[in-house]
């Protein structure tokens, strides 16, 4: 069943709530888990499922994304046939204004979708961390005779927009609720990943666009629950949607759990990212590291606990990092302390500084900053 499916990835979603972390980049290129960008999970899942025609719709700040993806070689997507196509924000051929939502964005690239030889389309956001086999999704989709399959996971609603899904015993969606109200109740929550036939997508998008609809979840999913066969595909392993600093921090820390980490990195296939040829990490005489995830190219001479260090981080002697995330090329100088802190790329914390957030409100130090 090679090449039955193509995919469209939305590189930007809910960015405003990630505040400082997405000033310089799209959600898709937000660093995660020590050496990855968010889009690596989506791209790797697609490639591991033999989906190699991939369009990426960007909205703003997409240069970091382009720099990361280049020609797609690190995901084996530098193909003669198929491969990656990146659509910059003004690709829409009918209007010269920025698209307002997924419906308009898809309408703007209908040509690309129509021309592709694949019969099915996977639509996905790029702020999702999980390890998926889309071939299995496809099999279930066919077996159920579904019009649309939407991927769901067990979670609860948050203050960010979530789609709660009710199904009958067969997995058919009988109702959806779109909410931004925080709740502790566990429910089936949409992952914003959909599989449907290309022809159906084209007719739904054309119709919705002509009616002036803009909201995919509301106008295409919710309004069609009774008319179309929409089925839920429950993702059983680790899955997370990251759309604010709190969820970014919490999900990062969950990765320190070995079972969750193995699930995310190995369940259905490996996760690929841009190769940077870093050297192994060097532990010096003053190193003391516990319960932490450490990427290559670091130099550690201080204490690190319950933390994530990205590539090329330097921890000088006497420095103490706990419950924190230090992104690429961070430098924590002598006798400085970080607690519940996220430092973006290329941040330097000079000697004898203490930066302290709390578990619910981690401090974020923006890119290139020297403290």
């Amino acid at each position: 069943m090679n090449n039955e499916m193509m995919s469209i990835i939305f590189a930007s979603d809910n960015e405003t709530k990630l505040n400082e972390l997405t000033i310089h980049r799209t959600t898709a290129s937000l660093p995660f888990c020590g050496r990855y960008r968010f889009i690596d999970f989506t791209l790797s899942n697609l490639v591991n499922s033999n989906i190699t025609t991939i369009g990426i719709v960007t909205r703003n700040n997409y240069s970091s994304l382009m720099d990361h993806i280049r020609m797609g070689r690190d995901w084996d997507l530098n193909r003669k046939n198929s491969g990656i196509a990146v659509f910059p924000p003004y690709a829409s051929n009918t209007s010269r204004t920025m698209f307002k939502g997924k419906i308009e964005a898809l309408y703007g690239i209908l040509d690309y979708i129509e021309k592709a030889t694949e019969d099915y389309v996977v639509l996905t956001n790029s702020n999702i961390a999980t390890n998926l086999d889309f071939e299995d999704v496809y099999k279930k989709h066919i077996a159920a005779g579904a019009d649309i399959t939407m991927l769901t996971y067990s979670s609860h609603s948050t203050s960010s927009r979530r789609v709660l899904v009710d199904t009958d015993k067969s997995g058919k969606v009988v109702g959806t609720r779109i909410t931004s109200t925080l709740s502790e109740d566990i429910a089936e929550v949409g992952l914003n990943i959909y599989l449907l036939k290309k022809d159906l997508l084209i007719s739904l998008i054309t119709d919705s666009y002509e009616r002036g609809y803009t909201d995919f979840e509301k106008h295409i999913i919710q309004q069609n629950v009774a008319k179309l066969g929409i089925y839920a595909y429950h993702v059983d392993g680790y899955a997370a949607i990251i759309d604010d600093v709190k969820s970014y921090y919490t999900e990062s820390m969950r990765i320190l759990d070995t079972d969750i980490r193995n699930d995310l990195f190995y369940r259905c296939g490996k996760i690929f990212t841009k190769v940077k040829d870093s050297v192994p990490t060097k532990y010096g005489a003053g190193a003391s590291v516990r319960n932490s995830l450490i990427a290559d190219g670091c130099e550690i001479n201080g204490r690190v606990e319950n933390s994530i260090l990205f590539r090329g981080v330097v921890v000088e002697e006497g420095a103490y990092i706990s419950n924190s995330i230090v992104m690429e090329n961070g430098r924590i100088m002598k006798y400085s302390e970080l607690r519940y802190t996220i430092t973006d790329k290329d941040v330097t914390v000079t000697e004898d500084k203490t930066i302290s957030g709390s578990e619910n409100y981690p401090v974020v130090i923006v890119k290139n900053k020297t403290v």
């Binding site: 050297v279 192994p280 060097k282 516990r290 290559d296």
Partner: protein, 397 residues
């Protein structure tokens, strides 16, 4: 007009069996042996080539070539996937007249004269696949051109005691070579050949053909071609290299070179971003350090799970060091597992080997001078059973 022409083509001799590495090369060619956590030995000459702007490389293989071939692939990790040039794996092949294995280093190049001719190079750089070093070959090529040499041989200064283990170049003050002695009992100088040669291709081509016609020849550069060129009155120069260089053809030297990665003062500075060493990437997540880990003076690579004690060691990708395990002064190769309570001292543990619970490999030799240290080897894929003691200097297959 389209032209294949390259100024300099590199020929990398990767066919050696590496018998002195014992079980580490039982199933792979020596250049494919793991090194430094995430590298193979061949990454060093390949990276040196691309960093020196040499983008056409023939890799001569014949012993256990499959893993090496797969590793090199299309050369992409070294930026050697080129439209014109790139990296070529060259095993011996059937020819109409006669076919043969590579009989010696010179014969290996002789059998690939057609390959080299395709690029009409002025110069051919001959390299070994079993040395760890960082060297700018373009500087050596500039030296070769400035001397108007027919052949330039890279040399490194060794101690007088060591000199009798090497091919020694005796030179005049201007650097020209007047005599070559292979492993001399009484060395006259300490300029040891590094096995790195630059030849004017048309000159070498003729000497290779003559050498092949000589039934008494060993078809070896050091033993035959270099002496023949000296006797023929050709201009040979020694190019002095002062950086870090190590022949990792023995267990001890391979262990030492790994230890040199940890020592800041060794001169083998692989962190230098201006001279990166490239390797095929394994797509592993960052390494995880557990609650019981204690790591000092060591290198740890992506994909590892560490919950034990590590001192002065190089831990390669995907290695597991479990709770209560101790690894000291050792090189643990990719995918090996050191289980709960096992202890490893002064050892090389091969790819995928398993040291089961409570086993002890080697022994601590902290007060022994480094020249006398004895290394214990657990071969690739070997299993040291629960509670077993592997004595110092033993080799487990």
């Amino acid at each position: 007009m389209y032209s294949n022409k390259k100024e300099c083509v590199a020929m990398l001799l990767a066919g050696g069996q590496g018998t002195r590495l014992y079980s580490l090369t039982a199933h792979v060619a020596k250049p494919a042996v793991s090194f430094g956590g995430k590298y193979r030995i061949i990454d060093f000459p390949l990276s040196n080539c691309i960093n020196s702007n040499i983008d056409t490389i023939g890799v001569l293989t014949q012993y256990q070539p499959f893993e090496l071939n797969e590793y090199i692939g299309n050369g992409q990790p070294w930026d050697l996937d080129r439209l014109n040039g790139g990296v070529f794996v060259l095993p011996p092949y059937m020819k109409s007249a006669k076919s043969d294995w590579y009989k010696g280093t010179a014969n290996a190049i002789y059998q690939n004269i057609d390959f080299i001719d395709k690029f009409s190079p002025e110069y051919v750089l001959v390299l070994s696949g079993d040395h760890i070093y960082k060297m700018d070959y373009s500087d050596m090529l500039d030296f070769h051109k400035s001397k108007g040499a027919d052949c330039t041989i890279a040399v490194i200064n060794v101690s007088l005691e060591e000199a009798s283990r090497f091919g020694i170049m005796n030179t005049k003050p201007d650097g020209s070579v007047y005599e070559f002695e292979e492993k001399p009992k009484k060395p006259k100088s300490t300029n040891a050949s590094m096995g790195i040669y630059i030849f004017n291709w048309q000159v070498l081509r003729k000497y290779l053909i003559d050498d092949e016609a000589n039934p008494d020849s060993h078809n070896d550069f050091g033993k035959d071609v270099i002496p023949a060129m000296l006797n023929g009155g050709r201009k040979l120069y020694a190019y002095r290299f002062d950086g870090y260089w190590k022949d990792v053809g023995t267990i001890k030297s391979l262990w030492e070179a790994n230890m040199d990665l940890i020592d800041r003062n060794s001169g083998l500075n692989i962190e230098d971003a201006s001279w990166k060493i490239y390797a095929r990437n394994a797509a592993e997540p960052p390494h995880f350090v557990g609650d019981h880990a204690d790591i000092i003076n060591s290198l740890v690579t992506e994909g590892c799970e560490i919950d034990g004690t590590i001192r002065n060691s190089v831990i390669s990708s995907r290695v597991e060091i479990r709770r209560g395990a101790v690894v000291e002064d050792s090189n643990i190769m990719p995918g090996a597992v050191v289980k709960e309570g096992a202890k490893v001292y002064y050892a090389i543990v091969g790819d995928g080997a398993v040291i089961e619970e409570g086993a002890i490999v080697g022994e601590a030799q902290d007060n022994v001078p480094v020249e006398e240290v004895k290394i214990t080897v657990v071969g690739p894929g070997a299993v040291v059973k629960k509670g077993t003691v592997v004595p110092v200097a033993a080799m487990v297959d």
